[in-house]
């Protein structure tokens, strides 16, 4: 049986990645995910895990090594952050196009410049359209759980896609939390050995990464899009199975005190935990406020979102990244688009918060929720604001 321990979340992510028995780990440490590859390197060096740990010279090489290793049928794991993730970007759509289930933990961090090592979501938002399944953890327990779930989702024959697990840099990576750490037997029971769809092997030559000319490219992209859309069913199945074995429930969009809520806040990542406290306070004050927390970012849970906002008068989306010169934050833009055709929908507005590690406190969420609740009519140019910016 697993036991409840206090552990830094990055170390816990490494421990649990090792419990998933990866064959190949290739990573290049970059703040704030550093402790994950460092600790995995220790685990391999100590002989606790029989895996190949490839010390690469860059993130581009890390993801390329994982891509190649996964092509041979190995279970692979990597981790990165910010500039490192951007350096991987060239390879990310290739991994998903090849349908290789590389699993990656991203310790989300702001993208330079100015140079900043602290947390926001700008790194993953640049990778939004690379064709990876994308999960967001709100705390240490979810991080640990999602690493195991990710292998099972990505390796499923109906999915065969890489999966990234987003954990907020520092707010999660460097925080010690109580975590129920499953033991090896429990992980083995949940996650069977990887049976690859195809393997590169000299005895049975085949091609991965063939040329795709205009005659075939449309069809190839359609097939890839379909794979990602269809993966949602597997995500839901894996989460159901998880709940059955481990007793912890996962949903694409988690609702917190949304019963009768007129004002909804929506967060993604660790700030949901702070927002929950704000909602408790607001409810005490008699404000009918609730919270939605996105856990599944790709494939985007359209249906679940439309259901979750039913009955709300106004919805404030909290973004952790800016789409410069665009229609608001990336999460907001998607949600507005998802609700556009709904005959009855809440007014939507957007707060871009916590950029580059700027702290967002309970009082801030209360302030934003109250402002949201008072929103009557919005001009398009008032739809989003960078919250707390000094003027």
């Amino acid at each position: 049986m697993g036991k409840r321990i206090g552990m830094e979340i990055a170390l816990a992510a490494a421990e649990v990645a090792a419990l998933c028995r990866p064959d190949v780990i290739a990573a290049y440490p970059i703040t704030p995910n550093t402790h994950i590859p460092e600790h995995l390197s220790d685990i391999v060096a100590e002989g606790r895990l029989d895996a190949e740990y490839i010390c690469v010279e860059s993130e581009h090489s890390a993801i390329s090594a994982c891509c190649g290793a996964s092509g041979t049928g190995a279970r692979t794991f990597t981790a990165t952050s910010s500039q490192g993730l951007l350096f991987m970007q060239e390879v990310l759509p290739i991994v998903s196009s090849l349908r290789l289930p590389v699993i990656m933990v991203i310790g989300n961090r702001a993208v330079s410049g100015p140079i900043n090592i602290w947390n926001d979501h700008s790194d993953i938002m640049y990778q939004r359209d690379t064709g990876w399944v994308s999960l967001f953890a709100a705390n240490g327990q979810e991080t640990v759980d999602m690493v195991i779930q990710a292998f099972k989702i990505g390796e499923h024959r109906d999915v065969m896609l890489p999966v990234n697990i987003n954990i907020d840099g520092f707010q999660l990576t460097h925080v010690v939390e109580p975590i129920i750490m499953p033991d090896q037997e429990e992980v083995d029971r949940f996650l069977p050995p990887y049976k690859p769809f195809a393997q590169l092997h000299p005895d049975k030559p085949m091609t991965m990464g063939a040329l795709g000319l205009p005659e075939i490219f449309n069809e190839a992209m359609r097939a890839k899009d379909e794979a990602i859309l269809q993966s949602k069913k597997v995500v839901l199945d894996v989460w159901k199975e998880w709940e059955k074995q481990f007793g912890r429930k996962y949903e694409p969009i988690e609702s917190y005190k949304t019963e009768g809520a007129e004002t909804l806040l929506l967060t993604m990542g660790s700030m949901g935990e702070t927002a929950e406290i704000a909602i408790d306070e607001l409810r005490k004050q008699g404000v009918k406020a609730g919270l939605l927390k996105i856990k599944l970012w790709r494939p985007f849970p359209f249906e679940e979102l439309r259901k979750a906002v039913k009955g709300a008068k106004v919805l404030a989306v909290m973004d952790r990244a800016v789409s410069f010169g665009g229609p608001g934050g990336p999460v907001f833009a998607e949600i507005r688009s998802a609700l556009y055709d709904e005959p009855k929908k809440p007014k939507t507005l957007n707060f871009i918060i916590g950029l580059g590690g700027r702290d967002v406190m309970v009082e801030d969420f209360i302030k934003m929720a109250k402002k949201t609740a008072l929103t009557k009519k919005l001009k398009p140019e008032d739809a989003y604001e960078i919250y707390g910016v000094r003027e």
Binding site: S97, L98, R99, L100, M160, F197, A198, P205, M206, T207, M208, G209, A210, G212, E215, I216, N218, E219, A220, R222, A223, E226, A227
Partner: protein, 97 residues
């Protein structure tokens, strides 16, 4: 795994566009890209084989008489053979001529 030579619909695309039959690239005739074709003047050819060595497509072969010729299924008409041929035994002519 049954191999599809050329997927017509998106449903027929192999996962990851994987190709399970080795050597299938030879079925793709790149000769259709060609705008110019190489013509050998064997009176000038000294059978040195420079054209064979330089052909990036590997489509030039030596025939029974020791002269060289290109396989037009694959020759893209790049003209490197003609450029490298120092006795000037190869000229490139327009396909439509």
């Amino acid at each position: 795994m049954t191999e599809k030579k050329w997927p017509e619909t998106w449903q027929e695309v192999n996962p990851g566009c994987m190709v399970f039959r080795p050597g299938s690239a030879s079925e793709y005739h790149t000769g259709s890209w060609r705008a110019k074709r190489p013509i050998w003047d064997n009176a000038k050819c000294i059978k040195c084989g420079v054209c064979y060595i330089y052909c990036p497509e590997g489509c030039i072969t030596e025939n029974a008489d020791g002269f060289f010729e290109a396989n037009m299924d694959y020759c893209k008409g790049c003209g490197i053979c003609a450029y490298e041929c120092w006795p000037k035994a190869i000229v490139m002519v327009n396909e439509e001529d």
